[in-house]
């Protein structure tokens, strides 16, 4: 007796379908964010940490939805994926956290100061130069950890926090007062004995009469808004080092810094600084030099010099002499106005002296300038980029380096890099979708299903669909051209990651690009040219400024946990949650498994719950379960429906195909065929049960899972028509009434037809699985209709297939007759 028919789809199934849709939504959002992040990184965009944090957070939320959906869809089978997700999320969080100052030495001699020890950029650079044998005044660095220890053990930490939290950020005066209160408190607080002793020992070891105490901030170069505001104290007697050290620390509590701490929620520790103590050079001449012309980038050394201490030039009290050296020759000497001099005071500190009327203030001679220029070039050569250098010449004529940092040079080109458009070359393809920016040349290799290993290195790979499996050869090919796909496919993400230029959506690429011919893929403008176009192939100049930014470097770090795709092959052994190392891996895994899960759930729904009967001209018992949008609204309360009530796009397409071929009744049998069926039926345990089985269609507006038994074989078609990147058709077909040889001939025939229609085909014995995805919905719709025709045409076809030659005969007939078999 048939069960009562309910018109609601079973809740379990409906819920799974909703989870599936949720998963697809997340999948598409993730791939879009991935593409956006990669574009922002590689195409010279300016962005800040807020952008990186927000994007990583949005991405994390979508990945969490994706994983939860898959777990719900699979009844918890993929719970391991959640573990993988949490591990990746934790890694990302660590990458974005501000660096924590870890315990380390309180102070080190300059020659032992290296990067990563929290001594600040200035001390680290000078430490490096000292080790390389450059002349740097002897000195030592006090670490940012020393500051941390000082603040934490003295109660300053709490005082500062409270002072910051009490400020009114809408009132500049309140920020100034808080800063003053912090500075006063800091100067009145004694250093911890351990730190006081360390500073004393290092100062004594220098053995200098006077020292310079200068800030060496951890972020000084990066955080320009604070740079230059930190204190530097010159000509300090050794017994005052401790006090001056505290003054330098106190200089960081400016209204800007307090506003930043208050509003960003960061600890002021992010601004913690190292302090540099160097033997004071009572310079005869001092100044700065640039090892390139900062306004033009030309090769030249420009030296600015003042008599006495360099602070005169920095503070604008004197106009320095300017020298320009090109190719070792002094080409310009412009005397400055040096009437105000900065000199060391006998009691410590700096005094300013006005030059007497008619007093001749000396300038460095040509030999000294040339020697300075050569020193500057040696420093620039060591660091590999032009430098901005502070220097001094001692009374004995010795050249010394006081600071070196990268020089910012004015660029001539304002625009984003684009190579010139190629003129005069034969264009083979125009207007491709740029999936991964760049240009490359190589011989064309059209992939027609050969083993991936056969793709030659350096080839321009031409493919029909942007299937993720091609990611396996990303390291080997010069460029990729795909007839289908968009910039948000898994493959596009992988190619951008590997910096392989790629054009997608190039219709007829396989026809337009002759195999073996040398071509240049121009993924700046979307074209493909015949031959090698050298102009395009020059490497683009990188944008060093953007790449130096903290946000860029953070993005680069986080992308390592986001974009690489390790799970390329669903049949590979590593296609498992355990091997998901990146968000992209998780996304790929979840997307692949979700399709299988929904398919299996649909298959398991066979108790008729919520099903309606589909009455048609075809003598088939079909039960339909609607998950939403699969039927016209008027059919909502009908237990029996007709094809006119169908609204599911994939179901309609499939149905059009099935009904076009129609029901032809049993095939004429030869004797062997008859025997074959008898033998086949004899091995069937319960043939009567099978004949009474229903055909099931689980449908939605965009979904179809149709399981049928037409004759003795078993067919399941699963199709989803959503966004093009997510849409697919799969078919599983096996069995039959005839003997195995004839059944195999039938699936061979089907496989040939479907391969011709660009389905990916897998044959095992009499079992056939095929799949078509990542193509335009209209194409999918057309192919699903043809599949409907093929399934109907194949009904009981196996019994007639008594010789191998029929495979080809039927294939030709099916194609030439407009997808029918008029047998």
């Amino acid at each position: 007796m048939r069960k009562a028919v309910r018109l609601e789809a079973p809740t379990g199934l409906l819920e799974r379908y909703r989870q599936y849709k949720r998963l697809l939504g997340a999948n598409s959002a993730i791939l879009t964010i991935l593409a956006d992040l990669q574009t922002k990184k590689s195409e010279g965009f300016l962005f800040d940490m807020a952008y990186v944090r927000a994007a990583v957070q949005r991405l994390g939320e979508e990945v969490a939805i994706l994983v939860q959906s898959l777990i719900s869809l699979s009844d918890g089978r993929f719970v391991d994926l959640e573990t993988a997700r949490q591990e990746i999320a934790a890694r990302l969080e660590r990458e974005l956290a501000p660096p924590e100052i870890t315990p380390g030495p309180l102070a080190l001699p300059l020659e032992e100061v290296g990067s990563g020890q929290f001594f600040g950029g200035k001390a680290e650079k000078l430490g490096e130069l000292t080790r390389r044998g450059f002349a740097v005044p002897p000195g030592f660095g006090a670490s940012a950890y020393a500051q941390k220890l000082f603040f934490e053990t003295s109660g300053l930490e709490t005082f500062i926090r409270e002072a910051i939290s009490r400020t009114d950020i809408r009132d500049l005066e309140s920020l100034r007062l808080a800063g003053q209160a912090i500075r006063d408190r800091l100067l009145a607080t004694p250093l911890p004995p351990e730190l006081s002793r360390t500073l004393g020992e290092h100062t004594a070891r220098l053995g200098a009469d006077r020292v310079a105490v200068r800030s060496s901030g951890l972020q000084e170069d990066g955080l320009v808004s604070f740079a230059g505001q930190f204190e530097s104290v010159l000509n300090v007697p050794p017994h005052q080092v401790e006090e001056r050290y505290k003054e330098v620390l106190a200089s960081q509590f400016t209204p800007r810094a307090l506003y930043y701490c208050h509003t960003s929620g960061f600890s002021y520790q992010e601004l913690a600084m190292g302090v540099l103590v160097m033997t004071m050079v009572e310079s005869r001449f001092a100044g700065v030099m640039y090892t390139a012309d900062p306004r033009t980038g030309e090769e030249a050394v420009i030296v600015n010099a003042v008599f006495g201490l360099g602070t005169a030039a920095v503070g604008g009290d004197a106009t320095p002499d300017v020298f320009r050296v090109e190719d070792g020759l002094l080409v310009l000497r412009r005397p400055g106005d040096k009437t105000r001099l900065h000199l060391c005071a006998a009691e410590g500190g700096v005094v300013e002296r006005q030059a007497a009327e008619g007093e001749a203030i000396p300038s460095p001679d040509d030999a000294a300038v040339l020697e300075l220029a050569a020193l500057g070039q040696a420093v620039a050569a060591h660091f590999g980029v032009p430098q901005d250098i502070a220097w001094a010449i001692s009374p004995q004529g010795r050249l010394l380096l006081l600071q070196a940092r990268p020089l910012h040079v004015v660029r001539k080109e304002k625009g984003d890099y684009r190579p010139p458009r190629v003129k005069g070359a034969a264009i083979l393809v125009e207007n491709g979708v740029i999936a991964s920016r760049g240009a490359a040349a190589g011989p064309v290799f059209v992939h027609l299903g050969q083993a991936l290993e056969s793709i030659p290195p350096g080839a321009v790979l031409v493919i029909q669909r942007a299937a993720p499996e091609y990611g396996l050869v990303a390291g080997r090919v010069a460029a990729v051209v795909s007839e289908g796909g968009s910039a948000t496919t898994h493959l596009a993400t992988v190619l951008r990651e590997a910096e392989v230029p790629a054009l997608f959506g190039v219709k007829d690429a396989a026809r337009l690009l002759p195999a073996g011919e040398m071509v240049t893929v121009d993924a700046y403008y979307g074209n493909i040219y015949r031959g090698r176009q050298e102009e395009l192939l020059k490497p683009p100049p990188g944008d060093a400024i953007v790449r130096q930014s903290r946000a860029y470097q953070a993005l680069e770090r986080v992308l390592r946990h986001i974009t690489p795709l390790n799970l390329l092959d669903p049949r590979g052994k590593n296609f498992h949650p355990h091997y998901c190392r990146t968000y992209h891996d998780i996304t790929r895994f979840a997307h692949e498994k979700a399709m299988t899960e929904l398919f299996q759930v649909s298959q398991a729904t066979r108790d008729g719950e919520g099903a309606r009967q589909l009455k048609s001209e075809l003598p088939l018992e079909i039960l339909v379960v609607d998950l939403g949008g699969g039927l016209v609204p008027e059919a909502a309360y009908q237990a029996v429906i007709t094809p006119a009530d169908l609204a599911s796009r994939p179901m309609l397409a499939y149905w059009r195909g099935m009904s076009a071929v129609g029901w032809k009744g049993p095939r004429p049998l030869d004797l062997a065929g008859f025997m074959s069926v008898v033998m086949g039926a004899a091995s069937d345990t319960n043939p009567m049960d099978r004949l009474q089985e229903h055909n099931y269609a689980i449908i939605a507006g965009d979904y179809l899972n149709f399981s049928s038994r037409l004759g003795y074989h078993f067919t399941t078609v699963d199709a989803y028509f959503g966004a093009p990147e997510e849409s697919y058709i799969t078919l599983t077909f096996y069995g039959g009434g005839a003997d195995l040889t004839r059944r195999i001939r039938r699936v061979q025939f089907m496989a040939r037809v479907l391969a011709h229609l660009e389905f990916r085909v897998e044959l095992k014995g009499d079992s056939l699985t095929v799949r078509l995805d990542r193509c335009d919905l209209n194409i999918l719709e057309e192919r699903l209709e043809i599949l409907g025709r093929l399934i109907m045409a194949c009904k009981q076809l196996d019994v007639t297939m008594d010789r191998d030659s029929l495979v080809d005969l039927y294939y030709q007939e099916f194609l030439s007759s407009g997808y029918n078999l008029n047998l």
């Binding site: 809408r170 990066g222 955080l223 808004s225 040079v409 304002k414």
Partner: protein
């Protein structure tokens, strides 16, 4: 060569703006992360252009714009908005902003914007100069 004030509570953005503008143009850039200080700095005069972020704690970019405009009706202010906050950009334009740009942006976008603003400023200056001369001639 112009003088530009950049205001953004995100220090990275300030760093980038300063470095990019100073590397690709001859303009000098002063920066502050504090909008209150920005208003104070503008009050001291001498800026050809103010670039301000819109979303900042304490005082948003719209208020910076309003206060700057109150001090100098002809002041040029370009606002920088976060992605997806076009409405605030429209509000800023209605309140007299010269232009707006959405974060994240390509460096050439900001450079073109600055170029446009500086050319506009120069035109206004020349216009005034001509007017002054004409008035002088007619007196």
């Amino acid at each position: 060569m112009g003088r530009i004030l950049a205001v953004d509570d995100e220090l990275d953005m300030l760093t980038l703006l300063k470095m990019i503008i100073e590397s690709y143009t001859e303009h000098r850039v002063e920066v502050t992360n504090n909008p209150l200080e920005a208003v104070e700095m503008v009050g001291q005069g001498g800026y050809d252009l103010v670039l301000t972020d819109l979303k900042m704690p304490g005082m948003d970019g719209i208020e910076v714009l309003e206060r700057v405009k109150k001090m100098d009706e002809d002041a040029l202010v370009m606002v920088i908005t976060a992605y997806g906050s076009l409405e605030s950009a429209e509000e800023a334009m209605a309140k007299g902003a010269f232009d707006f740009i959405t974060k994240p942006f390509r460096k050439e976008q900001i450079l073109l914007g600055i170029d446009k603003a500086m050319r506009w400023r120069e035109m206004v200056r020349q216009n005034r100069e001509m007017k002054r001369r004409l008035e002088g001639a007619s007196e």
